[in-house]
Symmetry: C2
Subunit: 189 residues, 2 copies
Amino acid sequence: MPYPSQIDADSILKVARNAIEADGVGNLSLNKLAAAMGVKAASLYRYYDNKAALLKAINQQTIQRLFAALEPALDSSSATIEQLMMGAKLYRAFALDNPQTYGMLFTNTIDDLRPDPEENVRLILPYQQLFADLCGDVNALAALRGYLALLHGYAMLLLADQLRRGGDLQQDYETAVRAYLTGWVANEK
Amino acid sequence: MPYPSQIDADSILKVARNAIEADGVGNLSLNKLAAAMGVKAASLYRYYDNKAALLKAINQQTIQRLFAALEPALDSSSATIEQLMMGAKLYRAFALDNPQTYGMLFTNTIDDLRPDPEENVRLILPYQQLFADLCGDVNALAALRGYLALLHGYAMLLLADQLRRGGDLQQDYETAVRAYLTGWVANEK
DNA sequence: AGATGAAGGTGAATACCATTAACCTTGAAG
DNA sequence: CTTCAAGGTTAATGGTATTCACCTTCATCT
């Protein structure tokens, strides 16, 4: 009974995302995914060219959600440095809430899974502006890059369980980000 | 002619590492690996329990090599902050020199591939001591964690080709690391 | 009303993959 | 000179993504 359609691109995305967060991307097979939707694996190819295209779509969506989660940091009623601190906290929270799909984002184990650049630039620009306010236009891009590296690196180390030597990880994180930000302000003198 | 042995654990490691750096870990199959050594895939199981064990051994070796590459930074004839700057430069150079195997290190896409913690602690301690000198014993671990996150995050973003908006990436990197370090010194006041 | 054709699903086939078990050969050690 | 472990092979198992021919359903056009 092929009509009406039992699945669609969005529902595949949703089920796949849940499966990945539950079992890891390494355990996601099109067989299992299709079975979970009451359909055979071949049917999925009506909606995605191949598995890589599906994973790429998930990555695109993850980026969207990440920046959506960061949006409260852009509220301009607080000082710039506090906006960036809030951004850091929200970033960390998102990564911990979506460990598997966040971890997928910038891993190049499978080629061409990375999200398209254009959209990313649009999403990141407000944060570059914050850094322009903080330490000048000339430094904004460099400061933004380091900020993203620090946030991403911390998230990846946390998710890979590489920070196992005790202490208050949340506190250490915030202190480190604050050191980075004040370092830029101090440099500007 | 099974005697003398045609392969051994070390040579497998070496060939596998080269294959990964050449084609990516996603394109490494035991079939191809064995063929490259003039042997059948089943033979590899005499030397490694399974593929995951082989990849884990590669990761262990990568860690060793990474810290070996960092060693010049520990030379105590220069100021602490310059030692850490040199460490950052060497770290980046290592990641760019070994993009695939470095990228494998802390990606948890396959479970239990991560290197053992004990050895890592031993390797990292001298750097924690540098931070103790820089910003006090109490802050050393937090400062070290942020430093590693910044270095690792920058490396991963570089390898994933996520910093495509021009500028002098090497310069931006060094400026960011310096900002982080001076931020800790400033905080200490 | 009836033909057309696209959409959505299936079954079967292909070509890989990791892993395992049974087996064979070599050579060293008792 | 027998024993036996080491180091290799072949073949099989069960998993993977992907493709293709096919069938059915339904909407649309004449």
